[in-house]
Amino acid sequence: MNEIAKLFDYFKRAFQVNKNNRGLYLPQITLILVKACYYLAFGIFLYQLTIGIGDMGFEATTFKEVFFSMAWWIGGMIVVGGLGSMVVEAGLFNMYKVSINDELIDSNIFFEGVRKYFIRILLANILMMIFWVAFAIPYFIISVFTLLAGFILIPLLITVFTTMWKVSMVIEDLTVIEGLKRGIRFSTKHFVPLSALVIIKQAFLSSQAGSSGNANAGNWDSSNNISKVTDNSPVDLDTVHFSFNDVYAQALPYIKTGFYILIPVVSIAIIIASMVRMVFEIFFELSIFVMYIEKSKEAELEPIAEPNAEAIMEVK
């Protein structure tokens, strides 16, 4: 129980570091604004597409063009979002390390972190992705056999065992594999308090609020569904095509109004939801860093066990 109680000391320290280093928020805020601009541009693209379809009508070629444009935008979102997140993660982790040691942080610390740790963090994320792809089917089977408990418990366990992976890579300047080994060893040794910390962190970050903002791209992309409906329709396509265009032309002013409201509202929602998430994320990541550093110090201070007399006799 003492081990779990120590979490509150880590929270205290994290809060203090957080309060004294407001600069920790800058990289995340920049990324959030970049992402929001991207979503805004995507919204404007969808708006233009909607009007364009109204002018050209629904043709087979239109769907093809729409599909490829969408693929470009969604691909761009994954690249910008994914790579941007990893750049910010690499820089921020270095900032955490420096700020916990009561040193001043600036943009140089961030860029130093990106230079030193970006490739390692990228490799770690690729490894995690490969693991999840390979483990997807067993994960599903185990989850079903554990009466659906596995759907939540397995990712949670994996998070517990990999939480210290990148942290040890940054703090101790280890390679990807060494970091993974050290992280797993740490998690095994301090399983209960680390699990409690991960559960508390997940409770704040996996809230239902804010998830709507991230899912907007999927919600707007209904073109594939429309194409499926028209492909399988037993009704004469020409007739449907003609009447659907008419209905679409009539509905266009309402769709435009919908866009005028949705684009700014969704953009603001994404920014606010991401900002709230950012506050929790930075606080809990700092707590994890503090825990790693404190436990490492404790391990250094632990007295080395005196050799057991019986073991010496056995060796003799």
């Binding site: 509150f8 929270f11 205290k12 809060f15 659906l148 559960i199 508390i200 409770a203 996996s206 606010i272």
Partner: protein, 264 residues
């Protein structure tokens, strides 16, 4: 600093709840309460159907049909509400007395639980009824406000605005039952103390309520959707009780800032 003090309280509450596991007994009492309420609902439905009051429904429409279904349940609804209110208040006051015993470093026992019920049940039940009555009277206004708030603030903040409002309001109501039991106050004095405390020390109470909401919900779902049905009440209940003890400790820490309590 307020956050350090809050963390100290959280730590002390954790050690206390580990030392006196008896404080978690109300989790099982709440399960029994739920089972009693469930049995009551089933009995009321069966009794109503068996009495044949629904036999002439086929000729009715709209409001008439609605009234014909609701009216036979009228007695059961009122009786159920009173039953729920009394049982809820009973567990609430008994639990607070258990926490009080633990905070005084005494082993919580059923004597503490029942002495709390004997002394404060009426006040807490009446206070709860007062809140319900006010909510009922103001329900059109509250509903209109909530819909407006959800549209203007809730949607552009992706739901966080609604969560923060709910947590903020619950911070103001967090300690009224504790104030009644701990300082032997009247109902209105209890509400007044709770509001003053939240006004002067909003940050720690807000953080406690936010953590209670987030962690108890997450903990209840920790063992999956099926586990939620069978163990969600237990895991969520443990977290809720822990944060109730933290709230009590926070109340004890800051109660000296309320001059009216000093006079008592």
């Amino acid at each position: 600093m307020w956050f350090d003090l809050l963390m100290d309280d959280c730590k002390a509450s954790l050690e206390l709840s580990h030392k006196y596991k008896g404080v978690f007994v109300p989790v099982f009492l709440k399960l029994i309460l739920t089972m009693i309420m469930g049995t009551f609902v089933i009995i009321s439905v069966i009794t109503s159907v068996a009495s044949g009051v629904f036999s002439g429904l086929h000729g009715s429409e709209g409001l008439g049909l609605f009234m014909q279904i609701i009216a036979p349940f009228g007695f059961f609804l009122i009786a159920g509400y009173i039953l729920y209110l009394i049982l809820w208040a009973l567990i609430e006051v008994g639990s607070i007395n258990l926490y009080r015993a633990a905070l005084s470093d005494e082993k919580p026992s059923k004597i503490h639980f029942f002495s709390g019920i004997k002394d404060y049940l009426k006040k807490v039940a009446a206070g709860k009824m007062l809140i319900h009555f006010l909510c009922l009277i103001l329900s059109p206004l509250l509903l209109a406000f909530f819909v407006l708030y959800a549209v203007i603030i809730g949607i552009p903040t992706a739901g966080w605005g609604v969560i923060f409002l709910t947590v903020g309001v619950s911070a103001y109501f967090a300690t009224w039952t504790i104030a009644i039991v701990n300082d032997d106050l009247g109902i209105l004095e209890g509400f007044g103390t709770s509001f003053k405390l939240a006004k002067r020390h909003f940050k720690p109470l807000f953080v406690i309520m936010l953590a209670l909401t987030m962690i108890s919900q997450y903990a209840a779902w920790l063992v999956g959707p099926l586990g939620f049905v069978f163990a969600g009440w237990f895991l969520g209940g443990i977290v809720k009780i822990y944060f109730r003890i933290v709230t009590y400790k926070t109340y004890l820490r800051y109660q000296k800032d309320i001059p009216e309590l000093d006079q008592i």
